[in-house]
Amino acid sequence: MRIERPRMRNEFTPAPMALVPSGSFAFDLYTFFSVSVLLFATNVGAADPKFVGSSSCAAAACHGGLAGHKVIGSEFPLWAARDPHAQAYSVLLTDLSKQMAARLKLSNKTAHESAECLNCHSPATAAKESTLTGHAPLAGVDCEQCHGAAEHWLTPHRRKDWKQLSPDVKQRLGFKNLSDVLTRATLCTDCHVGGPGRDVNHDLLAAGHPRLFFELSTFHANWPKHWPRKTDDSKHPVPDAKPNDPPGSLFEAKLWAVGQVVTAQRSLELLSRRATHDRTWPEFAEWNCFACHHDLESDSWWQLPNRQKQPHDALSWNSWPYAMLEPLARQTYGPEFRGSASPISGTLRLRLRFTTLRPPAPNIAAEAAAAAKSLRAWAMTLNQAEPTEAQKLFSPEALKSLRESLVGNEGQQLVARDWDSATQVFLAINALRYAEKGARGGLDSADEAQVQAVLDSMRKSLDFQNGYRGPRQSELRELKTLLIAPP
């Protein structure tokens, strides 16, 4: 395949940079004019920018250095070697994918040619011809899927004054500001939660697709990165830190909180879409998996005494995206977190609707859209919290109290709900531990070892043993015991 270099409609002529010292007023002036010309000349925003292909980034002198000691300069090889996103396309060629394509009766018969799969597994391949200048289909989820289609920003990106440009200008050129946690969370949830054309619904799950249970903070931690980890931390410093304090970072805390809210928001948007457009309503993927998929053994988790007392709870909403909203809202809004002013009130109302198998689709669609909107506003507040607000929300003490409430009564209630909520509690305790450590400037909290011990036990209890078998009652009891008697 011939890969062309990106070409501007009007070639932009770089100025004699050597004559303009960087940092000077002349430089700023020059940058201002050159960017204005750039934006005007490229007619940014007129149409979707084109993908230029990751090979444009992978030159040895740019981001294709030999992977080794240094991360900067070796981003492409690091991504190619370690990042599971690099394998996103090639999994479509496996036997399982072929079987899934057959079961789903896909439009193009094969997974690696069908838009249903490619929209997530290789968006550039799925893209229309008009949006491509060059792209290697084997690349899976490559550079431009996260950083933005590079038609307009590739040339300025190579220039010395690139770093002087503001994130807004870069965004207008198509370069996404991934330092912003909300942008990052939204980008990840595009596929990991779903959206238009990217719906992992019950059909797909039944055909063999793994369930999407996405928790941004944990996934982010486990993700092999192609950038120095500390750059994330350094871009979200603790506000008003004292000079002698170790350099703390709110990144982990923000990532968890914003991740939870955005995941819920995107799930609600997906729900709204499913209720509006899908021909198959009710969409089973919206319910808790174990509501139907549970074994018939006597101590199956689903056959708990309290559930028998509350028959309406036999069916329940898929709690994975929403489990952590209540603890987070309580932390933010205090005792009134369930009230009508709270951003989660809509979500809480929706939960009740899913105790029946056929909730009315139009109502659901409208309510979900409204609830998503309020969650979006909340996510933006969390993301751009004022220093004082951020200090209040994400101080080590606040994070610790949230963690302790999850290890205590609040955690017990959530664990009693279902496996998804229990697992979210587990992940949240772990995430908050790291968030607290980050906010303290890398120092562990005093009860670090005890928390680790609780987490180890919880993890064992939450693991599925083997084959088709859900969690046991005895394991739940064990979990509750763990949380009743916190260290």
């Binding site: 690091l78 394998q87 486990n222 990165k225 992940l427 939450l462 599925f464 043993q465 083997n466 084959g467």
Partner: protein
């Protein structure tokens, strides 16, 4: 007036023999009285139970445990026989009695029968009090070695050895002869294995073959002993764990540690001496502080396979609490923080577990392929890679020190396709002699091992020659000063040549001729010395020669 014979004869009494001779009588009576007096004295001593008179001298300290049990050694009437026959060579004890306790090796299997049957007591004189039994006089050795041919010996080094500190009295060490390029006496014959510590070989592709250390390992003494001072402040040298220059130029003992007897040195151990600065890192990104064990390639591959498999299955990010110390106890517990370059970050954080199904303990095909790729990559790094760890000296990789050979693997996944060439580092040099480093501890190492500070090549033989020994071990050291100086000059030429090469490499003058200076002062010392130290054969050689294979192992020399 004439005298008649009668008159003359009348002057002598014909009864002269009847007259008593006073002198004789006096002598006779004296002898009798001394004899009788002695007997009376002896009897008196005996009656007074004073037995010391009848005994030989004190036994050696080691034999005092026998107390009055003379029969432990003297089983026959040999002492009386020896006394009566006045034959000193006649032993008063048999070899069997000595061998009850002392099992000794033969001196030389080809000794003639008459000499082969030398009784132990002929050399080891007992009843000499504190005089050491184990230090026979040189005359016992020289009795044969002064003219070995006459005594039927087959000479390996020299026919006539008379005395160590006399010109021509003792040959130069064979090793020195080989290094000088002088034809060894054994030319044409196979070099005996104990001498094969040096080999006739090339250092590099272009070098002329020469005699050199047979060791198959890369070690640079010059690099490790380098230190540069500026106004008495150390400015350049090796770097320690605190990233400070460190001067090891007079700290040979940091690697060469004495053995239990303080005679020789313990073998160099990677774990004790090398890994602190040269950990065998294999994955600077995922396992920046983890090293592979200093083991055979098969074991290294096994370790890597396990590490990466566990990583795939369990997300284990490290294999031990303190990864580098796992295989390297001397590795510093705390390394200084890396300088903040903004890019030296590890790529992977510790993984956070996601609960769920745990029944898939097998690797999928893709995972297995990934493990294999990782293992091959890591193995390549462990074999070849050189890098710095947190800006701390950490040049590692097998190939950095060892010769690595590519071999045919027995199986694609289990066995490695490379092997390490055996190092063949000699455990002992000059194996025909015994040396004791401890009494020489007052000397700087470089006094005898001249040039060690400029030696970059393992092939450089740094063992001193006879001229160095005889400078002290001589009755007249002054006589040997010129020989020592000649040897030292020849060494100095080599040292200066090497120094020039090093200075060019380092782009600085080599201001560390510490060892040379000390050697020079040693030279001045011996030119003024009136008296030297012992020169006995027994100082270096033992009569009962143990097998020498045990030091350096069997070895078939290759002379090309």
């Amino acid at each position: 007036m004439r005298r008649s014979s009668r008159e003359l004869s009348s002057r002598v009494s014909i009864h002269v023999h009847r007259q008593p001779n006073r002198q004789r009588r006096l002598a006779w009576w004296l002898a009798l009285s001394v004899g009788v007096g002695s007997l009376l004295w002896l009897s008196g001593q005996y009656l007074q139970r004073q037995h010391r008179l009848y005994q030989a001298g004190d036994v050696a300290m080691t034999h005092r445990m026998f107390e009055n049990e003379c029969w432990r050694c003297h089983t026959t009437w040999a002492p009386l026989e020896r006394l009566l026959s006045f034959r000193d060579a006649f032993p008063s004890t048999t070899n069997e009695q000595c061998e009850t306790c002392h099992k000794v090796a033969e001196h030389q299997p080809e000794q003639k029968l008459a000499h082969g049957g030398i009784p132990c007591a002929a050399c080891h004189k007992e009843h000499k009090g504190a005089e050491t039994l184990a230090r026979p006089h040189d005359r016992f050795c020289v009795s044969c070695h002064a003219d070995l041919k006459e005594h039927g010996g087959q000479h390996a080094f020299a026919n006539n050895i008379t005395r160590f500190d006399v010109p021509g009295g003792h040959p130069e060490f064979l090793l020195t002869q080989l290094l000088k390029g002088e034809a060894p006496p054994t030319q044409g014959a196979e070099i005996r294995e104990e001498h094969a510590v040096a080999k006739f070989q090339r250092s590099g592709e272009d070098d002329e073959p020469r005699w050199q250390d047979r060791g198959r390992i890369r070690f640079n003494h010059a690099k490790h002993l380098y230190a540069r001072y500026d106004h008495q402040k150390l400015v350049d040298g090796l770097t320690d764990e605190n990233r400070q220059p460190v001067d090891l130029s007079d700290k040979c003992e940091s690697c060469h540690q004495p053995d239990a007897d303080h005679r020789y040195f313990q073998p160099i151990q990677f774990e004790a001496h090398c890994c602190k600065c040269h950990p065998l890192l294999f994955d600077p990104v995922r396992y920046p502080r983890q090293s592979v064990p200093h083991e055979l390639p098969e074991i290294i591959r096994g370790f890597l396979t396990e590490t990466y498999t566990l990583r795939e299955l369990q997300g284990a990010t490290q294999t031990a609490a303190n990864p580098t110390q796992q295989f390297c106890p001397s590795f510093p517990q705390q390394l200084p923080a890396a300088p903040d370059t903004g890019t030296d970050d590890e790529v992977d954080q510790p993984r956070r577990p996601l609960p769920g199904h745990r029944d898939q303990q097998k690797l999928t095909q893709a995972q297995a392929q990934k493990v294999l790729t990782n293992v091959v990559d890591a193995e390549k790094i462990a074999r070849d890679h050189q890098h710095r760890l947190f800006d701390y000296e950490a040049t590692g990789g097998c190939r950095y020190c060892h010769e690595v050979e590519v071999v045919e693997p027995q199986s694609k996944t289990s066995l490695s396709d490379w092997k390490i060439v055996p190092t063949q580092i000699p455990a002992r040099w000059l194996p025909h002699s015994e040396f004791h480093h401890e009494p020489h501890r007052l000397l700087d190492c470089g006094v005898c091992h001249v040039g060690v500070a400029v030696s970059e090549n393992t092939g450089d033989v740094l063992i001193p020659s006879r001229a160095v020994c005889v400078a002290c071990h001589s009755s007249q050291p002054k006589q040997w000063a010129s020989a020592w100086k000649e040897w030292f000059r020849s060494k100095q030429e080599w040292v200066q040549e090497r120094e020039a090469v090093l200075a060019k490499k380092r782009q600085k003058s080599n201001s560390n001729p510490v060892a040379s200076k000390q050697t020079q002062s040693f030279g001045d010392l011996i030119t003024r010395a009136d008296r030297g130290t012992r020169t006995d054969c027994i100082e270096c050689h033992s009569y009962h020669n143990p097998t020498k294979d045990k030091w350096n192992g069997p070895f078939v020399p290759e002379i090309k």
